[in-house]
C-alpha cells in the first residue's frame, strides 16, 4: 500500500484518526456553511466556535496549544485535534479530502 502524503504537521492535541472533507472557517459568516462531520480548520477560535466544533469530525487550528480551547473541546467530544499548524488555513483548501492523525499531529492527503 502506498504511503499517504503528509500535507501538514502540527501538535497532536487529541488522539484518534478521522478522514473527511476540509471546511475552513475564518469568519463567522462561514458558520452556516459548516456541515456535520466536516473537518473544521480555523486560525483561532472564540466561544461561538463551539457550536461548529460540536458538529466537526476533527479540528485543525493554526494557533493554540494542548490546553487551548479547541483542544479541550476536542477531548471532551472525543474527536481528533491538531493545533499549532501555523498555516492550515493557508495550505488546506475547502472540499479537500484529508486524513488526520490526532496523536501524531499529522494531516495526510486522502483520495
Amino acid at each position: 500500500m502506498a504511503r499517504k502524503k503528509i500535507i501538514l504537521k502540527g501538535v497532536g492535541a487529541n488522539s484518534g484518526i478521522a478522514a473527511g472533507v476540509i471546511r475552513i472557517v475564518t469568519d463567522k459568516k462561514d458558520f452556516s456553511n459548516f456541515k456535520e462531520n466536516e473537518i473544521l480548520v480555523a486560525k483561532t477560535t472564540d466561544p461561538s466556535y463551539v457550536m461548529i466544533m460540536a458538529k466537526a469530525a476533527a479540528i485543525i487550528t493554526d494557533t493554540g496549544g494542548i490546553m487551548s480551547h479547541p483542544a479541550i473541546v476536542a477531548r471532551e467530544l472525543g474527536i481528533p485535534c491538531v493545533v499549532a499548524t501555523k498555516k492550515a488555513t493557508i495550505v488546506l483548501r475547502n472540499g479537500q479530502k484529508v486524513k488526520i492523525d490526532g496523536e501524531k499531529g499529522i494531516i495526510y492527503e486522502e483520495e
Partner: protein
C-alpha cells in the same frame, strides 16, 4: 515551619501547573495579565482587609469558606491576585503589608481552602474531592443514562455548549467564576457493570450572571451539574483546575446524568433543544464582547473578578461592585498594560514563576 512548608507546596503546585498547562496560544478576549494588571492591587487589598477581620474575629473556617462560591474561586484568587496584587499595592506605597502579614493571610486562606476540599488543597494528587460521603450517597443513581453513539453525542454536545457559554461569560482567564470540575470519586462501579470506572462532576454553577451580563436574561436555567462516568480513564486535574490533556474523555464516557437547576433531566430531545438555545446565547454574548473597546473589556474583567468574590463583600454588607477608582486607573494607564503583557507566560521558567508567586518577596 508549617506555614512556610505550605507556601512551598503552593509554589510547587503553581509552577507545575504553569509548566504543564500554559502553552503558547490565544486567549479570548485578552490574556489574564492584560486585564488583571489594572486592578489586581485593589482586589487583593480589599480581600486582605476583609480576611484580616475574619481572622481577628476568629470566624469559624467553615463560615469563612461559605463566603467563597467554590474552592476554585479561592484558589484562583491566590493564583491571580493575592501574590502579585499585594506586591504591587505594597511597592506603589498605597497599601503596605509585611511578609509576615502576607504569610498569615495565605496561611488563613489555606486553612479555609482545607474546609472546602477533602483532599490535598493544592491538588498535587491530581484530584479535587468536593462531595462528601453523604452527598455521593444521595446522587440519584437510577437516573444515569447508559450512552450509545447517539445519546453520547447529544450529552457531550450539551456539556460543550455549557463550556462555551462559561467561556463567553467569564473569558479564558476567569472560567472558575462559574464552573468547576471535581473528582474522580470512588463509587461502586458494580451498578454500571464496568471495571476501572470513575465518576467526575462538571459543575456549571452560574450560567446566568445577570448582575454582570443583564443581556443573558433569556438563559433558561442557572445551574447544571453533569455527572460523568468514564471507563479506563485516569482523570487528573491540576492547581488551576485544568484537566490532564493526555486523556481522551469523550471516547471513554459511558454513563451520564444531568441535573438542571437541581432536577435530573434525561430526555434527549429536551437536551438537544436546550443545547441549541445555549449556542444561540453564547454566540450573542461572544459577539457582544468582541465589539467592546479593549479598555471596556478590562472594566468587565474587573466586574467579573469582584463578582466572583461577592460573597465576601456581602458578608460585610458591602456592595461587591469594583471601586470607582479602578475606572480612573484604566483611564490613566490606557493600553499600557495591554501592550506590556501581550506575551506568553508559557516561556517563564519554573524558578521565575515561583518567585513571582511567592508572597515573601516584593518581586513581580
Amino acid at each position: 515551619m508549617k506555614r512556610n512548608k505550605e507556601i512551598e507546596q503552593y509554589l510547587d503546585a503553581a509552577a507545575f501547573a504553569f509548566k504543564n498547562d500554559l502553552t503558547p496560544g490565544e486567549y479570548w478576549p485578552l490574556k489574564p495579565a492584560q486585564m488583571t494588571a489594572y486592578f489586581e492591587d485593589s482586589l487583593a487589598a480589599d480581600v486582605f482587609k476583609k480576611v484580616e477581620i475574619l481572622r481577628k474575629q476568629k470566624v469559624p473556617l467553615g463560615k469563612a469558606a461559605k463566603t467563597f462560591s467554590s474552592p476554585g474561586i479561592l484558589r484562583n484568587f491566590l493564583e491571580n491576585f493575592a501574590n502579585t496584587g499585594l506586591k504591587v499595592a505594597h511597592n506603589s506605597g498605597w497599601f503596605k503589608t509585611s511578609f509576615k502579614e502576607r504569610e498569615e493571610f495565605f496561611d488563613y486562606l489555606f486553612q479555609v481552602l482545607g474546609t472546602m476540599v477533602k483532599n490535598d488543597i493544592f491538588l498535587s494528587d491530581g484530584k479535587q474531592l468536593i462531595l462528601g460521603a453523604e452527598e455521593l450517597k444521595n446522587i440519584p443513581w437510577s437516573k444515569f443514562i447508559k450512552l450509545d453513539e447517539k445519546s453520547g453525542k447529544v450529552m457531550r454536545k450539551f456539556n460543550m455548549a455549557l463550556f462555551g457559554l462559561i467561556w463567553s461569560l467569564y473569558f479564558d482567564a476567569f472560567y472558575y467564576t462559574g464552573s468547576s470540575s471535581h473528582g474522580p470519586y470512588k463509587i461502586p462501579m458494580k451498578r454500571f457493570g464496568i471495571k476501572n470506572g470513575s465518576l467526575v462532576v462538571n459543575d456549571y454553577f452560574n450560567l446566568r450572571p445577570l448582575e454582570i451580563w443583564p443581556a443573558v436574561k433569556n438563559m433558561p436555567f442557572k445551574k447544571v451539574r453533569i455527572y460523568n462516568v468514564y471507563k479506563n480513564v485516569k482523570w487528573k486535574i491540576n492547581f488551576f483546575e485544568r484537566v490532564d490533556p493526555n486523556i481522551d474523555l469523550g471516547g471513554n464516557l459511558c454513563f451520564t446524568m444531568i441535573e438542571i437547576d437541581g432536577k435530573p433531566v434525561n430526555n434527549l430531545a429536551k437536551i438537544e433543544k436546550l443545547t441549541k438555545e445555549v449556542f444561540k446565547i453564547t454566540e450573542k454574548q461572544t459577539n457582544f464582547v468582541n465589539k467592546l473597546p479593549v479598555l471596556e473589556i478590562v472594566k468587565k474583567a474587573s466586574e467579573i473578578c469582584y463578582y466572583g468574590l461577592r460573597g465576601l463583600f456581602e458578608y460585610f454588607n458591602e456592595d461587591w461592585a469594583p471601586p470607582r477608582q479602578i475606572d480612573g486607573v484604566i483611564e490613566k494607564f490606557g493600553d499600557k498594560f495591554i501592550k506590556k503583557f501581550d506575551r506568553d507566560l508559557a516561556d517563564y521558567p519554573p524558578a521565575k514563576i515561583r518567585k513571582l508567586f511567592d508572597p515573601r518577596n516584593n518581586w513581580y
